[in-house]
Symmetry: C2
Subunit: 152 residues, 2 copies
């Protein structure tokens, strides 16, 4: 991970469809060099994939929320089982297994508040391992590119 790698990561994070030639031009290296670097970054797992960023509102899911869950007992079986269950719920965009007040944090997207309520009482409350949960409606979200180095 030298400076060139960091620059590649930064550029592809901002625009994953940059042509290799354009990437090389911006870095000031030959296209073949850029290609080889990107290949190595993928091989090493630094770049895990490329994904289109989709507007949830356009997909009729304008309402987003975080749902923080507590589940019991906190055994591996229960955790794995709950994780798998979350995976098959289309409302759930992402799920996080956590330490802290909450055991799971879910990022959900639904068409409206009614569908959120339905999700909470029909999908979560129904499950016996779920002790309780708190919901936070998301008004606005901001994502940033990740930089390789943190300033001290």
């Amino acid at each position: 991970m030298d400076e060139l790698d960091s620059a590649i990561v930064a550029h592809l994070q901002a625009d994953a469809r940059l042509t290799n030639r354009e990437l090389a031009r911006r870095l000031g290296v030959a296209p073949s060099t850029a290609l080889e670097r990107v290949r190595l970054l993928r091989e090493r797992g630094v770049i895990r994939g490329y994904h289109a960023d989709i507007d949830l509102a356009a997909l009729n899911r304008p309402v987003e929320a975080f749902v923080a869950c507590r589940v019991r007992p906190l055994s591996r079986a229960v955790i794995d089982n709950f994780k798998a269950a979350l995976n098959s719920l289309p409302e759930v965009l992402a799920s996080y297994v956590c330490a802290g007040d909450d055991d799971f944090i879910l990022h959900v997207a639904v068409p409206d508040l009614e569908r959120l309520h339905e999700f909470l009482i029909d999908r979560l409350s129904e499950r016996r391992e779920v002790l309780g949960f708190r919901s936070s409606i998301i008004f606005e979200s901001t994502r940033k590119p990740v930089f390789a180095e943190l300033p001290s």
Copy 2:
């Protein structure tokens, strides 16, 4: 947003670097058709961009957490100001303005727990609008593609 658009969105969400020809082949349409559809999806804002998915551990930031903050007063000025401040903190990957127990939820990534602690006490606690916060260390995270339609 017909079926073809949905299929395009699904494919590009899974792999944003699919060649247009391969995309067209999978959809069973001509490359020029696929290209035009993708162009329209971008123009309409359905596809907002393409981003490389980077392994945070490879960038020396293996420790992730959610930090839920309460700030006061909840005025527009304070909220906008806090949002802007978060934007310039490199530890913060994403920030969310929320309704619920918490006013802000931050997704942070740091090299180690010490840096997390530093962030909390030097960056957050220092700010006068911050009443308090709760942290949840992330053990495991799972993201899923977004499907256009939710089953009823």
